[in-house]
Amino acid sequence: MKIKRKDLLGIEELSKEEIETILETSGSLKEISERAIRKVPYLRGKTVVNLFFEPSTRTLASFSLAEKRLSADSFNLSSSSSSVLKGETLLDTARNLEAMRIDFVVVRHSLPGAPHFIADRLEASVINAGDGTHEHPTQALLDLLSLKEKFGTLEGKKVVIVGDIVNSRVARSNIWGLTKMGADVTVCGPPTLMPYGIEEMGVEVSFELRKAIEGRDVIYVLRIQKERQMGGMLPSIREYIELYGITPERLKDAKEDVIIMHPGPINRGIELDPRVADGKHSIILGQVTNGVAVRMAILYLLSGGQSGEVSEA
C-alpha cells in the first residue's frame, strides 16, 4: 500500500489503514539496522533537512540515522546556529531551504502548527518531529510499533498514560494512535496537568494512580518537567513522586506482566524509579530502536514507496 500524502503532520488525520501501512513497512525496514552494512538505496539522491528549533537527542539522532540508512543526503539546522537568531522567520527559512531544492523538511518547533504552516507553503514533504504541545506523530508510531511487536494487535489492550498530559504532545499523538488501533486508553495525573475536555478524545480520566494502573497492559509514563512546579501547577516534585511516581511498590497494584514505556528523556527518580526504568517490565530502549525503523518507513512511504516492495531490496 501507498501513503497518499505529501506530509506527515499528525496522527489525528491518519486512518487506521495508513497507520497499519506505516507499521508494516517499519517492520520490514527494521531489519536493515541489524545488518552488517546498514544501508539501502531507497532515498538515494533525495535531500532532507532536519530543522530543529528545540533541543533533541533521540528524535534528531533517530531521523538522521534513518535518513543515512536510506542513503538520503541530509543535514541539520538548529535555531541556535541559523539565521533565526538574526530574526529570520520560519517561513523565510523554509522557503530559502526549498530554493536550494530539497525533498523533505523534518521540523521540530515549540509552536503548535508550525510544521503545518510551512507544509501549506512548501512543495517539499514536511514531517512533524514535534510541534509544541500539539503532536509528535513519529513518537506515537514507534510506540505503536513497539506495542504491536509485543501484543500482535492493540485491539482491546488497556493502556494508561501517566503524568503531565496537558503539556504533552506525546500524549496527544498516542491517544489518537492508540484509540484508532482499538486500545482502551486512560489518562492519569493531577487535575492541574489535565487539559480541558480531554475526554472528548475518547479517553477516560483518572486522578488516582492506584486505580488507574489496575488491570492495565501498559503504563506509559510521561516526563515531568521540573520547571512545571514553578508555574504553580504542582506544589512540589516530592508530592508528585508520592502521588504519581512509578516505583516498584506501585507496580504491585499492576498486572504481573505490565509493560512500562517512556518517550524519553527520563527524569530518573521522579516520574520513573530507576529500578522500573531498567527493570523487566521496561521496553524503553526497544522503543528507541523502533524509532529508526518508523522514521525510515515514513521517509520511504512519503517519497512514494509502497509497503509491499521493501523486502525485495
Binding site: E12, T89, L90, L91, H109, L111, P112, G113, A114, H116, F117, D131, G132, T133, H134, E135, R169, R172, P195, Y196, G197, I198, E200, M201
Partner: protein, 438 residues
C-alpha cells in the same frame, strides 16, 4: 447624471426603515444642506434624484469599535483608509479606539484624530480616549479636557483594566463628563499565553486556552463596581454565554450597562479552527457553538445592544506566521453588514429594524452621539444597502490597507450601496468621495 450630486438631491423609492420613528415604508427623501429636508412621496423638479428602488434606506451605521492604527501603524491602516473601508461597509461613522502609538490619552491627541479625519476621512470619526495614561492602568486621563476636545467615550481596549480600584475610579470620575467606560474584559492571569478558546479544540491542537471565565469573572467584578459607584459601563466584544447572563442580571438591576458582539463571534466558532489559520486568531477568541447560539438569543432578546466590528488591521508579514506568533485580530468593516445580514436577518433572528438598532441607534446612544433617525431636520447620515445582493468576499478587493479576514471567499447576502454623511455621498457603488472634498 453625476455620480455624486451636490447640495440638494432626492433619494427616490427606497424602503425607509427608521426604528426610532417606527417607520418601514417606501418613500422619497429630500436631502439638502446636510440635513433631511423632507420625507414623503413627492415630485421635485430641478433637483437631481437617485433611484434606490428595492434598496433599504436607514439611519447611518456607527461602528463603535474600530482600530484605525493611526498614529503609529500607518502601514496597517490610516484614518483615511480605515474610514474608506467604513464608507464601503455602509458605516457613516466609526468610534476609533485609543490603543494607537502614542495612545490617545490627552486632548491634543484627540484633536489630532479629529483633524486627520476632517482632512482625509470619508466618514465621521469619534475618538475614544484612554481611561488611563498610556493605557498603563495607573493614572486616570484628563477626561474633562479630552471630552472638550471631542472624545466620545473612554476605553483601554486591547487591555483590561486590571486593577479593581482603578476601575472604580474610572467609573466614578467619568460621571463628571457623563461618558461611557468601554471595557475589554479579560483576567490576564487566567488567559496568560492563551491562543484560542479553552475547550476540546485547544486541548486537541495543543494551543494554550483562554477560558470563558477569563472574561466572565471580570464582567462580574465590574458589574459589582458599577452597582456600587454608578457610571456607564459598556462591555466590548462580549463572547461567552456566562458573560451574557451576568449582563442580563445587571440590566434587571437597572444598572447603566450595555454590551456589543462582533460579527465574527456570531458567524464563526472554535470548531472552525482546524487549520492553524492565524486569521482565526482574535481576542476574545472564537468561542464554542453553544456560546454562539446563546449570543444569537441575546441579540434577539435585546440583552446585547450593539454589533461592532473590532476592526483590527494587521500587516500580512505579521499575520502570516505560526499561529502562536501571529497577533490577535481581524478586519471587519467591509464584511460586517454582509455577515450580519446573512447570519442574523436571513436566518430570521433579527428584523432589519433590529439590525439598524444594533448597528446605528444603540451605538450612537451609548456614545452620546444623539438620536439616529431619519426625521425631517436631522443630519443626513444615511446607509443605503441592497438586502438581496449576493456577493463573494474577496480580500484582494478590500480598500482597507490590511486584508486579515477569515471570510475570504464567503458568499454573503446584503451589501452597502450608498453611504451619505451629513448630506454628502461618500460612497456610491464602488466609487468614493472624501468628506472634505466637497
Amino acid at each position: 447624471m453625476a455620480k455624486f450630486p451636490k447640495h440638494k438631491f432626492v433619494i427616490r423609492g427606497g424602503r425607509m426603515i427608521d426604528p426610532v420613528q417606527g417607520i418601514d415604508e417606501v418613500t422619497d427623501i429630500l436631502i439638502g444642506s446636510g440635513k433631511i429636508e423632507k420625507i414623503g412621496n413627492f415630485s421635485k423638479k430641478n433637483v437631481e434624484s437617485l433611484d434606490v428602488k428595492g434598496l433599504v434606506v436607514t439611519p447611518g451605521f456607527i461602528d463603535m469599535h474600530t482600530h484605525l492604527r493611526e498614529p503609529g501603524r500607518e502601514d496597517e491602516e490610516t484614518i483615511e483608509t480605515g474610514t474608506k473601508a467604513a464608507a464601503k461597509g455602509g458605516f457613516t461613522g466609526v468610534a476609533s479606539m485609543a490603543n494607537t502609538n502614542p495612545v490617545i490619552d490627552n486632548s491634543g491627541m484627540v484633536r489630532f484624530i479629529k483633524d486627520r479625519a476632517m482632512q482625509g476621512g470619508y466618514v465621521e470619526v469619534f475618538p475614544i480616549g484612554a481611561v488611563t495614561k498610556g493605557q498603563e492602568g495607573n493614572e486616570l486621563t484628563e477626561m474633562f479636557d479630552m471630552v472638550k476636545a471631542g472624545c466620545c467615550a473612554f476605553s483601554d481596549d486591547g487591555k483590561p483594566i486590571d486593577n479593581s480600584l482603578m476601575m472604580r475610579r474610572a467609573l466614578e470620575y467619568s460621571q463628571i463628563v457623563g461618558k461611557t467606560i468601554i471595557v475589554h474584559e479579560e483576567d490576564l492571569n487566567l488567559t496568560s499565553d492563551g491562543q484560542i478558546n479553552e475547550d476540546f479544540i485547544s486541548t486537541k491542537m495543543g494551543l494554550k486556552g483562554m477560558p470563558s471565565i477569563g472574561e466572565s469573572t471580570m464582567i462580574a467584578r465590574d458589574v459589582e463596581i458599577l452597582g456600587f459607584v454608578g457610571g456607564k459601563l459598556h462591555i466590548a466584544h462580549l463572547s461567552v454565554k456566562e458573560s451574557l447572563e451576568i449582563v442580563r442580571q445587571a440590566k434587571k438591576r437597572k444598572l447603566d450597562i450595555s454590551c456589543e458582539v462582533t460579527p465574527h463571534h456570531i458567524a464563526l466558532n472554535s470548531s472552525c479552527l482546524v487549520t492553524f489559520d492565524s486569521n482565526l486568531k482574535m481576542s476574545p477568541p472564537l468561542r464554542s457553538r453553544k456560546d454562539v447560539e446563546v449570543l444569537k438569543k441575546g441579540l434577539q432578546q435585546g440583552v446585547i445592544d450593539c454589533i461592532a466590528t473590532d476592526h483590527a488591521p494587521h500587516a500580512l508579514f505579521e499575520k502570516e506566521m505560526e499561529f502562536g506568533s501571529a497577533p490577535f485580530g481581524i478586519v471587519g468593516l467591509e464584511t460586517a453588514l454582509g455577515i450580519v445580514y446573512t447570519e442574523l436577518v436571513e436566518s430570521g433572528i433579527l428584523s432589519i429594524a433590529e439590525l439598524v438598532e444594533k448597528m446605528s441607534v444603540n451605538p450612537a446612544k451609548i456614545l452620546g452621539l444623539g438620536e439616529k433617525t431619519l426625521k425631517e431636520g436631522s443630519d443626513a447620515n444615511i446607509t443605503i444597502f441592497d438586502p438581496n445582493k449576493e456577493w463573494t468576499v474577496d480580500v484582494k478587493k478590500f480598500v482597507s490597507k490590511s486584508n486579515n479576514s477569515p471570510f475570504d471567499g464567503w458568499k454573503l447576502k446584503g451589501k452597502g450601496v450608498m453611504t451619505i454623511v451629513k448630506g454628502k455621498i461618500v460612497y456610491r457603488e464602488g466609487e468614493f468621495q472624501k468628506l472634505a472634498s466637497l
